[in-house]
Symmetry: C2
Subunit: 420 residues, 2 copies
């Protein structure tokens, strides 16, 4: 019986050229984050289905690959709905598993806990170009740090990593959910409609100020509120220091601690960053996930129209597991987009091993073979990459192919040493 | 609602101390195998359910975590059996996915293709100590190499990796399915009962020669065959060169090419190995997987009663997908067992970064904070690991804990620079 050669729908095989870059990038990520004191951790790819459907994941909860119960627990006859059939699911992000991990192991972890996760996640999205149902995420999180030291370290660590991978001239945009709320309150929007306002605001990049104005009016919000709201954004744009203008204008609508902290994050990062990038206040930054409670941030690459990573503070999620809130803040690199960018730009891994190919005549054996392998072993111990292959009939073509694969040094070995 | 803190049944959270070792070991594995010309690849963790239930996986096929169909494809009312509900499953090994990958991408891969895979696999085994339902496998395979160059390279690469991780004085035992069969044929066992004979032989380690004899007789095999069979093993043990004795005795029951090739593998590896280990012929080595067609091998660590990795030649599996056989040979390191051994022996990662901890007085902010972070950034750029944490009330205890975590250099920073 012939089997299916293709990967399952929406997932993909990764080819050697891409894997070489992925392995290298993961190495740089782990190495750099470690220098900031982050600890690598790992959780199972399968999570209890209740944890994945607890409303922490928003729309991702609709996209779960669920795993069937096994053995006696599976009863087709009494099963009335999908949930009677399953007991687990593939994780759709690394945040829910991290919070579960932290709750489960808190007593054995340093405080605050700085976690690094690099791992696959799964979402049964409609298949489309460049978007896969299995993809890698790369998250750092600090749990138990209430001050902005968390934000500063997360942004420095992430930007340093990107710098080491050769990225420059990118922006990290920052905002705070509490500023978003203060702006909506100042404008007089009803409190229960803030989320609707933010959903429209989130489109600013695409539809511009007029588009946002039109959509808000269309949604039935009062003209006075909409005018006041848009006036804030215009004011920020016109001001020399947009953040200071906003703070002055919002007055008592915004807690002073929030603005002081945000200014400190920006100043500290700008003063101590090691990569070439800018950390900028962006009042239009919303970020979708409902679990954010404070700062939010996002990476914008000049080459990309879309975000290339992001994160924020989520102080209320650990409490969902333990009943006791723990301050938490995280930053996720858009791993797959980074890889795509590097591949598109023909990225070359620095300090690659020198590649040597040994072409062996067919039938070469015994003590001659031993000697050839010994030579290869010696080169390998000198940190070279050595490939042993048999000669093809078309040796010229074979050597061309090897050269294309980066083997600059090709040596030939024959059965009778004389022929060498 | 409080959620489940524990990982799903049979799987586990990996703590930072273990992850540090795992990350390091994976680095050494990838680096070493690369120096032998192996290419890192990756396949999706989910495979088409047909591919996982094609009888290539033996008993593992009973242990599959199956994934539920989604959307309209899932119909509870018309579903009569389990297989109507599922369309995918989590891979139970890396070999079936590799063969699918090779069949799918053969035209874009070098020939022969040397693949390296490090990835998780899942088996719904009965939970027991030290055995988990998600675990990591680490396989190298050579596809398209018919000669024993494949075996030699696989064994050298694997043993070199183990040597770099500090293992020595281990054995790699080698045998050939064709020798197993020749021994059974020589003894006069009926051809259709070879597998039953091998299942008994596989217990030699535990029950000894007498035990094997008793079980074979109990199974109803003729006394003459059993005597002849056991005579072979005794003869091998008594001979100075067991393999040569066996070859002489089996005569025309064993193809000469098989024994010549095996002798060459042993001689070449013994002459060129870079780790301190022995490659030895073991006529009692069986290995369970039914897909092996030629050589088989297994790693035996002096510290462990069980195998710590193994592999062999499986020339008939690619044909199952493509209809055209391709010679194939693979070697899998027992990754989880290696990690367990290293952890138990208190393994220390070589050339670790120097660890520095900065203790910050609570409330330290503004330009003083900027300055402290700047100092941390400088040390990080000098390849040090720097942790920034706020001072606890019990500073003495905090410093003790940091020392325990390996922070030899602990510096304190206060709000007013004077206090420094």
């Amino acid at each position: 019986m012939a089997l299916t050669k293709k990967p399952v729908t929406g997932m993909r095989d990764i080819m050697p050229e891409e894997m070489e870059i992925r392995d290298y990038v993961i190495g740089v990520i782990k190495e750099t984050y470690r220098s900031f004191g982050f600890h690598s951790i790992e959780t199972p790819c399968v999570e209890n289905i209740e944890n994945l459907t607890s409303k922490q994941g928003g729309d991702n909860e609709k996209l779960i690959f669920k795993t069937l119960k096994r053995g006696e627990k599976l009863n087709l006859e009494t099963a009335k709905e999908e949930n009677d059939l399953v007991d687990g699911g593939l994780r759709y992000d690394l945040t829910v598993p991290l919070v579960r991990y932290f709750s489960n192991n808190e007593n054995n972890l340093p405080a605050p806990f700085k976690a690094l996760q690099v791992g696959n996640v799964w979402r049964a999205d409609r298949p489309q170009k460049g978007r896969y149902r299995q993809f890698m995420q790369c998250d750092i999180d600090i749990l138990g740090e209430a001050t902005n030291l968390a934000e500063i370290e997360l942004i420095l660590a992430t930007s340093t990593t990107l710098g080491k991978l050769g990225f420059s001239d990118f922006q990290i945009r920052i905002n705070d959910r509490r500023i978003l709320k203060a702006m909506a309150a100042y404008s007089g929007f009803p409190e229960d409609s803030y989320d609707s306002v933010f959903i429209t605001l989130d489109k600013m990049d695409k539809i511009g100020l007029e588009g946002v104005e039109a959509e808000l009016l269309e949604k039935g919000f009062g003209k006075e509120s909409v005018d006041k709201y848009l006036g804030l954004f215009k004011g920020i744009e016109d001001a020399e220091d947009g953040l200071s203008y906003l703070i002055d204008t919002l007055g008592s609508f915004l807690e002073e601690a929030v603005s002081t902290s945000l200014k400190e994050i920006i100043a500290s990062v700008q003063a101590t960053r090691s990569a070439k990038f800018e950390l900028v206040f962006d009042p239009t930054l919303v970020r979708g996930m409902s679990y954010y409670t404070g700062t939010i941030f996002e990476i914008a690459m000049p080459q990309l129209g879309i975000a290339c990573g992001g994160g924020g503070r989520y102080d209320k999620m650990v409490g969902k597991f333990t009943g006791k809130d723990v301050p938490a803040c995280g930053f996720s690199i858009g791993f797959e987009r980074i890889i795509l960018l590097l591949m598109e730009n023909g990225y070359q891994i620095p300090a690659r091993k020198e590649k040597v190919a040994f072409l062996l005549e067919k039938g070469l054996s015994g003590s001659v073979l031993c000697d050839v392998i010994g030579q290869a072993q010696k080169l390998r111990s000198e940190n070279k990459q050595v490939l042993l292959v048999h000669m093809n009939k078309n040796k010229k073509f074979q050597k061309e192919q090897l050269t294309e694969q980066g083997y600059a040094d090709i040596r030939e070995f024959y059965k009778e040493a004389l022929k060498q």
